[in-house]
Symmetry: C2
Subunit: 234 residues, 2 copies
């Protein structure tokens, strides 16, 4: 039986503890990062605290294998003197929403190759998908995720602002948003790219710019230029 | 029984003809825009041709009610001397991919109120969803759709470019992309917005900028600034 200790009280700690607790073949405990004296011995100790606290929290842990769950922190940001690793779930977690771990890719990294088996085992019991990702790659995944998640959501925001201004119900765009995200499962972004920028339809671009506020216009122009240049690079 | 004539050979004409043909209570015919002499009389004549051709094609049609399927063209861009309307399906159509019309919102507009019933009936048999949208609103929906579809896809493109540069499989981001588009069904974009820009995490923003190419950096900065200002306006 694998034993797991989780350190932290945030969303990731909450959902990991909940998921591991439901599995009979695991023994799991959770402690607050301010109560590290009471941490139980465990095969894997998962530090799910804010990036800034990883260094200090890890320096106080004596358990054999300590991993963090951060997308942006180097594995060597851990200050425990025992073995190190990373167990980064690449998904957006909200406290109020149940997590479907079958849809969570885990970015795994270990200092000692033998420890990979333990981390992979944890991903397997959660029915997630394991990827071997080094610290440099993980930082780049984190910035790629800003585009795929935060900036994509901001595109939805601008769409909604336009709808609101013209008394159009935003739900009219939801099927298109769904189709756009569906398409990317079977087509590359290059293949899926359509629209006035892609086909150099300057007349439509000009009409669109006339409808937008000045800040929306700047973003429209910047992305249109970039799409046009991207096409040429290929 | 309602009779429908479809003019055009593009994706929209193809999928509408296919869908209407499968319905017993409709009589549907299709003609090429170069063979307008052979057009059959119909209750509704749907011109699904390129925006630039709408004016000329419509001027040659004598049928009683003529509608176009364009997001960007004014209803009065139709040059038939009979009744006019708009039947704009707000979805991305590809020739190779079957269209699920239950997920297609139709933006309807008519010159004569009584004709709305006919257009709504067509949407109903397709099991789509009808919206009453005037020409001004429709043009704004079209630009909102550029953000929700074309620019969102370009965010995926940049994510993929970053993955490619660092030998990361792009499929690691697909669950996050799916979750991002799912979330918007139950949260507003304001509620769903997370990330370093939203929480003014300047340290992470700086780290991210150092990882990006110059053109990626410009887009990251522009969108980050805009998210930060947007938060303040609310």
């Amino acid at each position: 039986m694998i034993s797991v200790a989780i350190v932290g009280n945030g969303n990731v700690a909450f959902h990991l503890y909940k998921a591991f607790s439901s599995i009979n073949t695991l023994k799991v405990s959770q402690v607050n990062s301010r109560s590290l004296d009471s941490i139980e011995p465990a095969d894997v100790t998962i530090i799910a605290v804010s990036d800034d606290a990883i260094s200090e929290v890890s320096s106080k842990i004596k358990n054999s294998l300590v991993v963090h769950t951060s997308g942006t922190t180097d594995m060597n940001g851990l200050q425990n003197i025992t073995r190190k690793g990373v167990f980064y779930p690449l998904q957006s977690f909200s406290k109020d929403k149940a997590v479907d771990f079958t849809k969570v890719p885990f970015c795994l990294e270990v200092e000692h190759t033998n420890d990979m088996y333990l981390l992979e085992k944890l991903v397997e019991v959660l029915k997630g998908k394991a990827y071997h990702i080094n610290s440099e790659q993980r930082k780049n995944i984190h910035v790629a995720a800003v585009f795929a998640n935060n900036f994509t959501n901001y595109m939805y925001q601008i769409s909604k602002d336009i709808c609101d201004t013209h008394s159009i119900p935003f739900d009219i765009l939801l099927p298109l948003i769904e189709e756009t995200s569906e398409k990317i499962k079977s087509l590359t972004p290059e293949e899926a790219q359509t629209g006035p920028a892609k086909r150099n339809d300057e007349k439509t671009i000009k009409n669109h710019l006339n409808l937008l506020s000045s800040s929306q216009k700047e973003i429209y122009q910047k992305l249109t230029e970039s799409i046009q240049k991207h096409g040429k690079k290929l």
